[in-house]
Protein backbone atom coordinates (compact mmCIF):
# COMPACT_ATOMS: atom_id res chain seq x y z
CA UNK A 1 0.00 0.00 0.00
CA UNK A 2 2.81 2.37 0.89
CA UNK A 3 4.35 1.64 -2.50
CA UNK A 4 1.17 2.70 -4.21
CA UNK A 5 0.91 5.95 -2.38
CA UNK A 6 4.57 6.73 -2.89
CA UNK A 7 4.48 5.98 -6.60
CA UNK A 8 1.20 7.84 -7.04
CA UNK A 9 2.65 10.92 -5.42
CA UNK A 10 5.78 10.42 -7.49
CA UNK A 11 3.63 10.36 -10.60
CA UNK A 12 1.93 13.60 -9.61
CA UNK A 13 5.29 15.18 -8.91
CA UNK A 14 6.62 14.07 -12.27
CA UNK A 15 3.60 15.54 -14.01
CA UNK A 16 3.87 18.83 -12.21
CA UNK A 17 7.62 19.09 -12.68
CA UNK A 18 7.36 18.38 -16.41
CA UNK A 19 9.29 15.12 -16.47
CA UNK A 20 8.88 12.54 -19.25
CA UNK A 21 6.45 9.63 -18.93
CA UNK A 22 5.03 10.24 -15.47
CA UNK A 23 3.03 7.01 -15.44
CA UNK A 24 6.03 4.73 -16.02
CA UNK A 25 6.74 3.92 -12.39
CA UNK A 26 3.15 3.67 -11.20
CA UNK A 27 1.65 1.42 -13.86
CA UNK A 28 3.71 -1.72 -13.08
CA UNK A 29 2.04 -1.83 -9.65
CA UNK A 30 -1.32 -2.39 -11.31
CA UNK A 31 -2.26 -5.97 -12.21
CA UNK A 32 -1.49 -6.79 -15.81
CA UNK A 33 -5.09 -7.07 -17.01
CA UNK A 34 -6.08 -3.64 -15.67
CA UNK A 35 -3.00 -1.80 -16.75
CA UNK A 36 -4.23 -0.23 -19.99
CA UNK A 37 -7.58 0.79 -18.48
CA UNK A 38 -5.80 2.41 -15.55
CA UNK A 39 -3.49 4.23 -17.89
CA UNK A 40 -6.46 5.60 -19.83
CA UNK A 41 -8.22 6.64 -16.63
CA UNK A 42 -5.11 8.36 -15.34
CA UNK A 43 -4.91 10.35 -18.57
CA UNK A 44 -8.58 11.25 -18.64
CA UNK A 45 -9.15 12.12 -14.99
CA UNK A 46 -7.14 15.37 -14.99
CA UNK A 47 -8.94 16.52 -18.14
CA UNK A 48 -12.30 15.80 -16.58
CA UNK A 49 -11.31 17.78 -13.51
CA UNK A 50 -9.34 20.69 -14.88
CA UNK A 51 -11.54 21.82 -17.73
CA UNK A 52 -14.88 21.83 -15.90
CA UNK A 53 -13.11 23.71 -13.11
CA UNK A 54 -11.79 26.16 -15.67
CA UNK A 55 -15.34 26.47 -17.01
CA UNK A 56 -16.61 27.31 -13.54
CA UNK A 57 -13.93 29.92 -13.09
CA UNK A 58 -14.50 31.37 -16.55
CA UNK A 59 -18.20 31.94 -15.96
CA UNK A 60 -17.39 34.11 -12.94
CA UNK A 61 -14.48 35.92 -14.57
CA UNK A 62 -16.56 36.55 -17.66
CA UNK A 63 -19.41 38.06 -15.68
CA UNK A 64 -17.05 40.20 -13.66
CA UNK A 65 -15.15 41.30 -16.75
CA UNK A 66 -18.30 42.15 -18.66
CA UNK A 67 -19.48 44.09 -15.65
CA UNK A 68 -16.29 46.12 -15.52
CA UNK A 69 -16.53 46.79 -19.25
CA UNK A 70 -19.98 48.21 -18.63
CA UNK A 71 -18.79 50.17 -15.57
CA UNK A 72 -20.46 47.82 -13.15
CA UNK A 73 -18.97 45.67 -10.41
CA UNK A 74 -20.24 42.28 -11.52
CA UNK A 75 -21.04 39.43 -9.12
CA UNK A 76 -19.40 40.11 -5.75
CA UNK A 77 -21.60 38.50 -3.13
CA UNK A 78 -20.90 34.78 -2.97
CA UNK A 79 -17.53 33.96 -1.50
CA UNK A 80 -14.44 36.17 -1.64
CA UNK A 81 -15.04 38.89 -4.26
CA UNK A 82 -17.82 36.80 -5.75
CA UNK A 83 -15.58 34.00 -6.93
CA UNK A 84 -17.85 31.31 -5.50
CA UNK A 85 -20.73 32.47 -7.66
CA UNK A 86 -20.28 29.40 -9.85
CA UNK A 87 -21.02 27.16 -6.87
CA UNK A 88 -24.27 28.97 -6.21
CA UNK A 89 -25.22 28.80 -9.87
CA UNK A 90 -24.25 25.15 -10.09
CA UNK A 91 -26.27 24.22 -7.03
CA UNK A 92 -29.18 26.14 -8.42
CA UNK A 93 -29.16 24.35 -11.77
CA UNK A 94 -28.62 20.97 -10.15
CA UNK A 95 -31.59 21.32 -7.85
CA UNK A 96 -33.98 22.70 -10.42
CA UNK A 97 -36.75 20.61 -11.83
CA UNK A 98 -35.88 18.87 -15.07
CA UNK A 99 -38.74 19.86 -17.34
CA UNK A 100 -39.40 18.01 -20.57
CA UNK A 101 -42.16 19.45 -22.74
CA UNK A 102 -45.03 17.06 -23.29
CA UNK A 103 -44.82 17.38 -27.06
CA UNK A 104 -41.07 16.84 -27.11
CA UNK A 105 -39.44 13.82 -28.60
CA UNK A 106 -38.43 12.29 -25.28
CA UNK A 107 -35.47 10.15 -26.35
CA UNK A 108 -33.86 12.67 -28.68
CA UNK A 109 -34.48 15.44 -26.17
CA UNK A 110 -32.64 13.38 -23.58
CA UNK A 111 -29.74 12.41 -25.82
CA UNK A 112 -29.00 15.86 -27.24
CA UNK A 113 -26.98 17.30 -24.30
CA UNK A 114 -24.98 14.10 -24.06
CA UNK A 115 -24.28 14.21 -27.78
CA UNK A 116 -22.83 17.67 -27.24
CA UNK A 117 -20.70 17.08 -24.16
CA UNK A 118 -19.18 13.74 -25.15
CA UNK A 119 -17.62 14.89 -28.45
CA UNK A 120 -16.45 18.11 -26.85
CA UNK A 121 -14.60 16.15 -24.18
CA UNK A 122 -13.21 13.87 -26.86
CA UNK A 123 -11.66 16.81 -28.68
CA UNK A 124 -9.45 17.50 -25.66
CA UNK A 125 -7.87 14.09 -25.98
CA UNK A 126 -5.58 15.06 -28.86
CA UNK A 127 -4.38 18.45 -27.61
CA UNK A 128 -0.80 18.58 -26.32
CA UNK A 129 -1.04 20.42 -23.00
CA UNK A 130 2.60 20.16 -22.10
CA UNK A 131 5.92 18.74 -23.12
CA UNK A 132 4.92 15.25 -22.04
CA UNK A 133 1.21 15.73 -21.57
CA UNK A 134 -0.57 14.43 -24.65
CA UNK A 135 -3.48 12.18 -23.74
CA UNK A 136 -3.66 10.60 -27.20
CA UNK A 137 -0.85 11.09 -29.70
CA UNK A 138 -2.79 10.40 -32.90
CA UNK A 139 -1.10 10.45 -36.27
CA UNK A 140 -4.06 12.44 -37.62
CA UNK A 141 -4.89 14.42 -34.52
CA UNK A 142 -6.01 17.54 -36.35
CA UNK A 143 -8.40 15.50 -38.49
CA UNK A 144 -9.71 13.85 -35.32
CA UNK A 145 -10.35 17.24 -33.78
CA UNK A 146 -12.32 18.51 -36.74
CA UNK A 147 -14.20 15.25 -37.28
CA UNK A 148 -15.32 15.07 -33.67
CA UNK A 149 -16.05 18.79 -33.69
CA UNK A 150 -18.32 18.30 -36.69
CA UNK A 151 -20.37 15.81 -34.68
CA UNK A 152 -21.51 18.54 -32.29
CA UNK A 153 -23.67 20.08 -35.02
CA UNK A 154 -25.79 16.97 -34.80
CA UNK A 155 -26.49 17.50 -31.12
CA UNK A 156 -27.52 21.08 -31.73
CA UNK A 157 -29.96 19.96 -34.36
CA UNK A 158 -31.26 17.19 -32.10
CA UNK A 159 -31.86 19.62 -29.25
CA UNK A 160 -33.65 22.14 -31.43
CA UNK A 161 -35.80 19.66 -33.28
CA UNK A 162 -36.72 17.46 -30.35
CA UNK A 163 -38.02 20.38 -28.29
CA UNK A 164 -40.92 20.92 -30.70
CA UNK A 165 -40.74 24.64 -30.27
CA UNK A 166 -40.45 27.06 -33.14
CA UNK A 167 -37.81 29.15 -31.41
CA UNK A 168 -35.73 26.09 -30.65
CA UNK A 169 -35.94 24.91 -34.24
CA UNK A 170 -35.06 28.36 -35.58
CA UNK A 171 -32.12 28.54 -33.22
CA UNK A 172 -30.95 25.08 -34.17
CA UNK A 173 -31.13 25.76 -37.89
CA UNK A 174 -29.32 29.06 -37.43
CA UNK A 175 -26.67 27.32 -35.35
CA UNK A 176 -26.19 24.51 -37.83
CA UNK A 177 -26.03 26.87 -40.80
CA UNK A 178 -23.52 29.02 -38.93
CA UNK A 179 -21.36 26.10 -37.85
CA UNK A 180 -21.31 24.58 -41.33
CA UNK A 181 -20.39 27.92 -42.88
CA UNK A 182 -17.64 28.78 -40.45
CA UNK A 183 -16.18 25.30 -40.42
CA UNK A 184 -14.78 25.99 -43.89
CA UNK A 185 -12.64 29.04 -42.98
CA UNK A 186 -11.72 27.26 -39.74
CA UNK A 187 -10.38 24.20 -41.52
CA UNK A 188 -8.79 26.20 -44.33
CA UNK A 189 -6.93 28.41 -41.87
CA UNK A 190 -5.74 25.33 -39.99
CA UNK A 191 -4.68 23.82 -43.28
CA UNK A 192 -2.01 26.50 -43.71
CA UNK A 193 -0.20 25.04 -40.72
CA UNK A 194 -0.48 21.55 -42.14
CA UNK A 195 1.01 22.82 -45.39
CA UNK A 196 3.87 24.48 -43.56
CA UNK A 197 4.69 21.61 -41.21
CA UNK A 198 3.66 18.64 -43.33
CA UNK A 199 1.94 16.74 -40.54
CA UNK A 200 -1.50 16.30 -39.02
CA UNK A 201 -0.12 15.24 -35.65
CA UNK A 202 -0.54 18.01 -33.11
CA UNK A 203 2.58 17.25 -31.01
CA UNK A 204 4.65 17.35 -34.18
CA UNK A 205 3.10 20.68 -35.13
CA UNK A 206 4.13 21.99 -31.72
CA UNK A 207 7.64 20.64 -32.20
CA UNK A 208 7.87 22.45 -35.52
CA UNK A 209 7.36 25.73 -33.67
CA UNK A 210 10.23 25.26 -31.24
CA UNK A 211 13.16 27.62 -31.50
CA UNK A 212 16.03 26.30 -33.54
CA UNK A 213 19.52 25.97 -32.11
CA UNK A 214 20.87 29.30 -30.96
CA UNK A 215 17.73 31.23 -31.86
CA UNK A 216 16.43 33.58 -29.21
CA UNK A 217 12.84 33.72 -30.46
CA UNK A 218 10.55 30.72 -30.87
CA UNK A 219 9.22 30.04 -34.35
CA UNK A 220 5.58 30.46 -33.56
CA UNK A 221 3.49 30.45 -36.69
CA UNK A 222 1.77 33.62 -35.64
CA UNK A 223 5.07 35.45 -36.21
CA UNK A 224 4.80 34.89 -39.96
CA UNK A 225 2.44 36.85 -42.25
CA UNK A 226 0.38 33.81 -43.19
CA UNK A 227 0.37 32.61 -39.61
CA UNK A 228 -0.88 35.96 -38.38
CA UNK A 229 -3.66 36.01 -40.95
CA UNK A 230 -4.44 32.38 -40.36
CA UNK A 231 -4.64 32.98 -36.63
CA UNK A 232 -6.98 35.93 -37.06
CA UNK A 233 -9.23 33.93 -39.39
CA UNK A 234 -9.06 30.99 -37.01
CA UNK A 235 -10.10 33.11 -34.04
CA UNK A 236 -13.06 34.62 -35.86
CA UNK A 237 -14.18 31.24 -37.14
CA UNK A 238 -13.69 29.62 -33.74
CA UNK A 239 -15.75 32.38 -32.17
CA UNK A 240 -18.54 31.62 -34.61
CA UNK A 241 -18.20 27.87 -34.11
CA UNK A 242 -18.55 28.32 -30.37
CA UNK A 243 -21.64 30.51 -30.88
CA UNK A 244 -20.15 33.36 -28.92
CA UNK A 245 -20.88 37.04 -29.27
CA UNK A 246 -20.82 38.72 -31.76
CA UNK A 247 -21.90 35.52 -33.51
CA UNK A 248 -24.42 34.38 -30.91
CA UNK A 249 -27.40 34.44 -33.24
CA UNK A 250 -28.34 30.84 -32.40
CA UNK A 251 -29.00 31.99 -28.84
CA UNK A 252 -30.31 35.42 -29.69
CA UNK A 253 -32.04 35.90 -26.34
CA UNK A 254 -33.79 39.05 -27.52
CA UNK A 255 -35.31 37.46 -30.61
CA UNK A 256 -35.52 33.70 -30.23
CA UNK A 257 -35.22 33.60 -26.43
CA UNK A 258 -32.41 31.08 -26.06
CA UNK A 259 -32.37 29.19 -29.31
CA UNK A 260 -31.92 25.49 -29.30
CA UNK A 261 -31.69 24.97 -25.57
CA UNK A 262 -34.79 26.96 -24.77
CA UNK A 263 -36.69 23.90 -23.58
CA UNK A 264 -33.93 22.61 -21.35
CA UNK A 265 -33.76 23.23 -17.66
CA UNK A 266 -31.76 22.11 -14.68
CA UNK A 267 -28.88 19.78 -15.25
CA UNK A 268 -29.41 19.37 -18.99
CA UNK A 269 -29.19 23.12 -19.43
CA UNK A 270 -26.00 23.08 -17.38
CA UNK A 271 -24.62 20.42 -19.71
CA UNK A 272 -25.33 22.61 -22.74
CA UNK A 273 -23.66 25.53 -21.03
CA UNK A 274 -20.69 23.36 -20.14
CA UNK A 275 -20.45 21.98 -23.65
CA UNK A 276 -20.46 25.43 -25.17
CA UNK A 277 -17.64 26.69 -22.96
CA UNK A 278 -15.61 23.51 -23.30
CA UNK A 279 -15.96 23.82 -27.07
CA UNK A 280 -14.54 27.30 -26.80
CA UNK A 281 -11.63 26.06 -24.68
CA UNK A 282 -10.94 23.27 -27.15
CA UNK A 283 -10.95 25.70 -30.06
CA UNK A 284 -8.62 28.03 -28.15
CA UNK A 285 -6.37 25.08 -27.34
CA UNK A 286 -6.22 24.14 -30.99
CA UNK A 287 -5.44 27.73 -31.94
CA UNK A 288 -2.63 27.78 -29.39
CA UNK A 289 -1.27 24.49 -30.70
CA UNK A 290 -1.43 25.53 -34.34
CA UNK A 291 -0.35 29.16 -34.23
CA UNK A 292 0.88 30.17 -30.77
CA UNK A 293 3.55 27.53 -30.37
CA UNK A 294 1.59 25.16 -28.15
CA UNK A 295 3.34 24.81 -24.81
CA UNK A 296 6.49 26.61 -25.99
CA UNK A 297 7.52 29.84 -24.36
CA UNK A 298 8.03 32.82 -26.64
CA UNK A 299 11.65 33.00 -25.56
CA UNK A 300 13.31 29.60 -25.20
CA UNK A 301 15.24 30.76 -22.15
CA UNK A 302 12.03 31.05 -20.18
CA UNK A 303 11.20 27.36 -20.70
CA UNK A 304 14.00 26.44 -18.37
CA UNK A 305 12.26 27.74 -15.24
CA UNK A 306 8.57 27.74 -16.03
CA UNK A 307 6.99 24.35 -16.79
CA UNK A 308 5.55 23.81 -20.25
CA UNK A 309 1.89 23.33 -19.28
CA UNK A 310 1.96 26.69 -17.49
CA UNK A 311 2.66 28.34 -20.83
CA UNK A 312 -0.21 26.49 -22.43
CA UNK A 313 -2.68 27.52 -19.76
CA UNK A 314 -1.38 31.08 -19.70
CA UNK A 315 -2.06 31.35 -23.42
CA UNK A 316 -5.45 29.73 -22.92
CA UNK A 317 -6.31 32.28 -20.24
CA UNK A 318 -5.18 35.10 -22.53
CA UNK A 319 -7.36 33.85 -25.39
CA UNK A 320 -10.36 33.41 -23.10
CA UNK A 321 -9.81 36.94 -21.90
CA UNK A 322 -9.73 38.13 -25.50
CA UNK A 323 -13.03 36.39 -26.20
CA UNK A 324 -14.61 37.98 -23.14
CA UNK A 325 -13.31 41.36 -24.25
CA UNK A 326 -14.73 40.89 -27.75
CA UNK A 327 -18.04 39.80 -26.28
CA UNK A 328 -18.16 42.95 -24.19
CA UNK A 329 -17.41 45.14 -27.20
CA UNK A 330 -19.16 43.99 -30.34
CA UNK A 331 -22.90 43.92 -30.94
CA UNK A 332 -24.55 40.88 -32.43
CA UNK A 333 -24.37 40.66 -36.22
CA UNK A 334 -27.33 40.10 -38.49
CA UNK A 335 -27.87 36.78 -40.24
CA UNK A 336 -26.98 38.16 -43.69
CA UNK A 337 -23.88 39.86 -42.30
CA UNK A 338 -22.89 36.57 -40.71
CA UNK A 339 -23.19 34.64 -43.95
CA UNK A 340 -21.56 37.38 -46.01
CA UNK A 341 -18.59 37.48 -43.67
CA UNK A 342 -18.09 33.75 -43.93
CA UNK A 343 -18.59 33.21 -47.63
CA UNK A 344 -17.59 36.48 -49.23
CA UNK A 345 -14.77 37.62 -46.96
CA UNK A 346 -13.26 34.86 -44.88
CA UNK A 347 -13.40 32.08 -47.45
CA UNK A 348 -11.53 34.01 -50.19
CA UNK A 349 -9.07 35.31 -47.64
CA UNK A 350 -8.42 31.79 -46.36
CA UNK A 351 -7.80 30.63 -49.92
CA UNK A 352 -5.39 33.50 -50.54
CA UNK A 353 -3.72 32.56 -47.28
CA UNK A 354 -3.11 29.06 -48.66
CA UNK A 355 -1.39 30.69 -51.63
CA UNK A 356 0.66 32.83 -49.25
CA UNK A 357 1.88 29.84 -47.27
CA UNK A 358 2.81 28.11 -50.52
CA UNK A 359 4.85 31.18 -51.51
CA UNK A 360 6.45 31.18 -48.07
CA UNK A 361 7.34 27.54 -48.45
CA UNK A 362 8.89 27.80 -51.89
CA UNK A 363 10.68 31.14 -51.80
CA UNK A 364 14.16 30.54 -50.40
CA UNK A 365 15.11 34.08 -49.46
CA UNK A 366 13.68 35.10 -46.04
CA UNK A 367 13.25 38.70 -47.09
CA UNK A 368 11.57 37.78 -50.38
CA UNK A 369 9.11 35.43 -48.73
CA UNK A 370 8.23 37.90 -46.01
CA UNK A 371 7.63 40.59 -48.60
CA UNK A 372 5.77 38.39 -51.05
CA UNK A 373 3.33 36.84 -48.61
CA UNK A 374 2.74 40.10 -46.69
CA UNK A 375 1.97 42.04 -49.87
CA UNK A 376 -0.30 39.30 -51.14
CA UNK A 377 -2.26 39.10 -47.89
CA UNK A 378 -2.45 42.83 -47.27
CA UNK A 379 -3.58 43.38 -50.84
CA UNK A 380 -6.26 40.71 -50.53
CA UNK A 381 -7.45 42.13 -47.21
CA UNK A 382 -7.67 45.71 -48.37
CA UNK A 383 -9.12 44.76 -51.75
CA UNK A 384 -11.79 42.49 -50.31
CA UNK A 385 -12.58 45.01 -47.62
CA UNK A 386 -12.98 47.80 -50.16
CA UNK A 387 -15.07 45.63 -52.46
CA UNK A 388 -17.42 44.53 -49.71
CA UNK A 389 -17.70 47.83 -47.92
CA UNK A 390 -17.45 50.84 -50.22
CA UNK A 391 -16.46 53.70 -47.94
CA UNK A 392 -18.88 56.15 -49.56
CA UNK A 393 -22.01 54.18 -48.81
CA UNK A 394 -22.59 55.56 -45.34
CA UNK A 395 -23.11 59.32 -45.43
CA UNK A 396 -24.13 61.76 -42.79
CA UNK A 397 -27.53 61.02 -41.41
CA UNK A 398 -30.22 63.37 -42.68
CA UNK A 399 -33.31 64.03 -40.62
CA UNK A 400 -36.56 64.73 -42.38
CA UNK A 401 -38.25 66.96 -39.87
CA UNK A 402 -35.66 68.13 -37.43
CA UNK A 403 -33.84 71.28 -38.48
CA UNK A 404 -30.34 70.64 -39.80
CA UNK A 405 -27.36 70.99 -37.48
CA UNK A 406 -29.48 71.28 -34.41
CA UNK A 407 -28.78 69.30 -31.35
Amino acid sequence: MMDWIREFLGMLWKTVSDQPDPKAAFLPLIPEEWRSETSVLLSIAPLMMIFPALFALTTVVERKGLGRIQNRLGPNRVGPAGFLQFAADGLKTLTKEDIVPRAADQLVHFLAPLALVVPVFLTFSVLPFGRHLVPLDLESGLLFFFAIGAATELSVFMAGWASRNKYSLLGALRAVAQMVSYEIPLILSALTVVMATGTLSLPQIVDAQAAGNGEWLARWHVFTPWGFFGFALFLVAACAEANRAPFDLPEGESEIIAGYYLEYSGFKFALFFLGEYLGLFAACGLGITLFLGGWHAPLPILERWIPSYAWFFAKLAALIGLFIWVRGTLPRVRMDQLMNLAWKFMLPLALVNLLAVALWHFLPNPLARWAASSILLAGAYVGLGRALMPPSRIGKRVYRYAPQDSR
Binding site: V108, L143, L154
Partner: protein, 171 residues
Protein backbone atom coordinates in the same frame (compact mmCIF):
# COMPACT_ATOMS: atom_id res chain seq x y z
CA UNK B 1 -13.74 -10.06 -35.15
CA UNK B 2 -13.36 -9.39 -31.46
CA UNK B 3 -16.02 -8.45 -28.95
CA UNK B 4 -15.86 -4.74 -29.66
CA UNK B 5 -16.38 -5.09 -33.39
CA UNK B 6 -19.24 -7.55 -32.87
CA UNK B 7 -21.02 -5.08 -30.60
CA UNK B 8 -20.37 -2.30 -33.09
CA UNK B 9 -21.69 -4.46 -35.93
CA UNK B 10 -24.88 -5.23 -34.08
CA UNK B 11 -25.26 -1.53 -33.37
CA UNK B 12 -24.74 -0.69 -37.02
CA UNK B 13 -27.30 -3.24 -38.21
CA UNK B 14 -29.83 -2.12 -35.61
CA UNK B 15 -29.47 1.55 -36.52
CA UNK B 16 -29.60 0.69 -40.23
CA UNK B 17 -32.90 -1.12 -39.68
CA UNK B 18 -34.10 1.88 -37.71
CA UNK B 19 -33.03 4.20 -40.49
CA UNK B 20 -35.14 2.42 -43.07
CA UNK B 21 -38.14 1.36 -41.02
CA UNK B 22 -38.99 4.24 -38.66
CA UNK B 23 -42.00 6.43 -39.34
CA UNK B 24 -40.45 9.76 -38.53
CA UNK B 25 -37.98 10.95 -41.14
CA UNK B 26 -35.82 12.82 -38.64
CA UNK B 27 -35.53 9.66 -36.57
CA UNK B 28 -34.45 7.87 -39.73
CA UNK B 29 -31.77 10.49 -40.35
CA UNK B 30 -30.54 10.27 -36.75
CA UNK B 31 -30.38 6.47 -37.00
CA UNK B 32 -28.40 6.90 -40.21
CA UNK B 33 -25.92 9.01 -38.27
CA UNK B 34 -25.68 6.11 -35.84
CA UNK B 35 -24.79 3.85 -38.77
CA UNK B 36 -22.14 6.29 -39.96
CA UNK B 37 -20.61 6.67 -36.50
CA UNK B 38 -20.64 2.91 -35.93
CA UNK B 39 -18.97 2.30 -39.27
CA UNK B 40 -16.38 4.95 -38.46
CA UNK B 41 -15.66 3.15 -35.20
CA UNK B 42 -15.30 -0.13 -37.10
CA UNK B 43 -12.87 1.55 -39.50
CA UNK B 44 -10.87 2.77 -36.52
CA UNK B 45 -10.85 -0.78 -35.16
CA UNK B 46 -9.51 -1.89 -38.54
CA UNK B 47 -6.58 0.56 -38.17
CA UNK B 48 -8.01 2.79 -40.89
CA UNK B 49 -7.61 6.00 -38.91
CA UNK B 50 -7.72 8.41 -41.83
CA UNK B 51 -10.73 6.83 -43.49
CA UNK B 52 -12.62 6.53 -40.23
CA UNK B 53 -12.12 10.20 -39.37
CA UNK B 54 -12.97 11.31 -42.91
CA UNK B 55 -16.11 9.19 -42.61
CA UNK B 56 -17.21 11.15 -39.52
CA UNK B 57 -16.21 14.50 -41.00
CA UNK B 58 -17.96 13.99 -44.33
CA UNK B 59 -20.90 11.78 -43.49
CA UNK B 60 -21.91 13.05 -40.07
CA UNK B 61 -20.70 16.61 -40.49
CA UNK B 62 -21.88 17.23 -44.04
CA UNK B 63 -24.14 14.57 -45.56
CA UNK B 64 -26.15 14.08 -42.40
CA UNK B 65 -26.70 17.80 -41.94
CA UNK B 66 -27.72 18.13 -45.58
CA UNK B 67 -30.18 15.29 -45.06
CA UNK B 68 -31.89 16.84 -42.08
CA UNK B 69 -32.08 20.19 -43.85
CA UNK B 70 -33.68 18.50 -46.85
CA UNK B 71 -36.11 16.67 -44.58
CA UNK B 72 -37.16 19.87 -42.87
CA UNK B 73 -37.41 21.76 -46.18
CA UNK B 74 -39.74 19.09 -47.57
CA UNK B 75 -41.91 19.19 -44.45
CA UNK B 76 -40.88 15.75 -43.30
CA UNK B 77 -40.27 16.81 -39.72
CA UNK B 78 -43.44 15.35 -38.32
CA UNK B 79 -44.58 11.75 -38.47
CA UNK B 80 -45.76 10.71 -41.90
CA UNK B 81 -49.49 10.33 -41.95
CA UNK B 82 -49.93 8.87 -45.40
CA UNK B 83 -48.87 5.24 -45.86
CA UNK B 84 -45.15 5.33 -45.77
CA UNK B 85 -44.42 2.04 -47.45
CA UNK B 86 -45.08 1.72 -51.14
CA UNK B 87 -47.91 -0.61 -52.20
CA UNK B 88 -45.54 -3.28 -53.36
CA UNK B 89 -43.45 -3.17 -50.22
CA UNK B 90 -43.78 -6.89 -49.52
CA UNK B 91 -42.16 -7.78 -52.84
CA UNK B 92 -39.32 -5.29 -52.28
CA UNK B 93 -38.65 -6.42 -48.73
CA UNK B 94 -38.81 -10.03 -49.82
CA UNK B 95 -36.35 -9.44 -52.61
CA UNK B 96 -33.95 -7.65 -50.27
CA UNK B 97 -34.22 -10.39 -47.67
CA UNK B 98 -33.68 -13.05 -50.31
CA UNK B 99 -30.60 -11.26 -51.58
CA UNK B 100 -29.29 -10.96 -48.03
CA UNK B 101 -29.81 -14.66 -47.49
CA UNK B 102 -28.02 -15.56 -50.71
CA UNK B 103 -25.12 -13.21 -50.06
CA UNK B 104 -24.58 -14.30 -46.48
CA UNK B 105 -24.76 -17.94 -47.46
CA UNK B 106 -22.30 -17.35 -50.27
CA UNK B 107 -19.86 -15.54 -47.98
CA UNK B 108 -20.03 -18.23 -45.34
CA UNK B 109 -19.67 -21.04 -47.88
CA UNK B 110 -16.64 -19.55 -49.60
CA UNK B 111 -13.45 -21.00 -48.23
CA UNK B 112 -11.14 -19.47 -50.77
CA UNK B 113 -11.16 -16.03 -49.23
CA UNK B 114 -7.67 -14.55 -49.10
CA UNK B 115 -5.95 -15.34 -45.84
CA UNK B 116 -4.96 -12.36 -43.75
CA UNK B 117 -1.36 -11.41 -43.81
CA UNK B 118 0.30 -13.02 -40.82
CA UNK B 119 3.68 -11.38 -41.14
CA UNK B 120 2.46 -8.08 -39.77
CA UNK B 121 3.27 -6.00 -42.81
CA UNK B 122 3.53 -2.27 -42.29
CA UNK B 123 0.22 -0.48 -42.65
CA UNK B 124 0.34 2.60 -44.83
CA UNK B 125 1.03 5.71 -42.79
CA UNK B 126 -0.79 8.97 -43.13
CA UNK B 127 2.19 10.51 -44.91
CA UNK B 128 2.11 7.70 -47.44
CA UNK B 129 -1.56 8.24 -48.08
CA UNK B 130 -0.89 11.93 -48.56
CA UNK B 131 1.97 11.32 -50.95
CA UNK B 132 -0.12 8.85 -52.90
CA UNK B 133 -2.96 11.37 -53.17
CA UNK B 134 -0.61 14.08 -54.37
CA UNK B 135 1.60 12.05 -56.68
CA UNK B 136 0.23 8.87 -58.23
CA UNK B 137 -3.45 9.59 -57.79
CA UNK B 138 -3.22 13.30 -58.43
CA UNK B 139 -5.34 13.11 -61.57
CA UNK B 140 -8.08 11.30 -59.68
CA UNK B 141 -7.81 13.91 -56.96
CA UNK B 142 -8.17 16.73 -59.46
CA UNK B 143 -11.10 14.97 -61.08
CA UNK B 144 -12.64 14.63 -57.66
CA UNK B 145 -12.13 18.32 -57.06
CA UNK B 146 -13.80 19.09 -60.35
CA UNK B 147 -16.66 16.74 -59.52
CA UNK B 148 -17.18 18.30 -56.11
CA UNK B 149 -17.12 21.81 -57.57
CA UNK B 150 -19.58 20.81 -60.26
CA UNK B 151 -21.77 19.15 -57.66
CA UNK B 152 -21.68 22.21 -55.42
CA UNK B 153 -22.52 24.57 -58.26
CA UNK B 154 -25.17 22.20 -59.57
CA UNK B 155 -26.75 21.82 -56.15
CA UNK B 156 -26.87 25.57 -55.67
CA UNK B 157 -28.42 26.13 -59.09
CA UNK B 158 -30.96 23.38 -58.53
CA UNK B 159 -32.00 24.53 -55.11
CA UNK B 160 -32.00 28.24 -55.95
CA UNK B 161 -35.48 29.69 -55.70
CA UNK B 162 -36.88 30.14 -59.17
CA UNK B 163 -37.23 33.79 -60.15
CA UNK B 164 -40.84 34.85 -59.88
CA UNK B 165 -42.52 34.85 -63.31
CA UNK B 166 -42.18 38.26 -64.88
CA UNK B 167 -45.24 40.33 -64.30
CA UNK B 168 -47.30 41.05 -67.36
CA UNK B 169 -47.35 44.69 -68.22
CA UNK B 170 -49.83 46.27 -65.96
CA UNK B 171 -52.52 47.69 -68.12
Amino acid sequence: MNGLTIILSLLVIASALGAVALRNLVHCALCLMGVFLGLAAIYLCLDAQFVGLVQILVYVGAVGILLVFAILLTRGGGAELSPFFSPSWAIGAGAAALLALIMVAAILKTDSLPAPDAGGAELPTLAQIGKRLMQEDVIVLEAMGLLLTAAAVGAIVLAMPEPPPKKEEEA
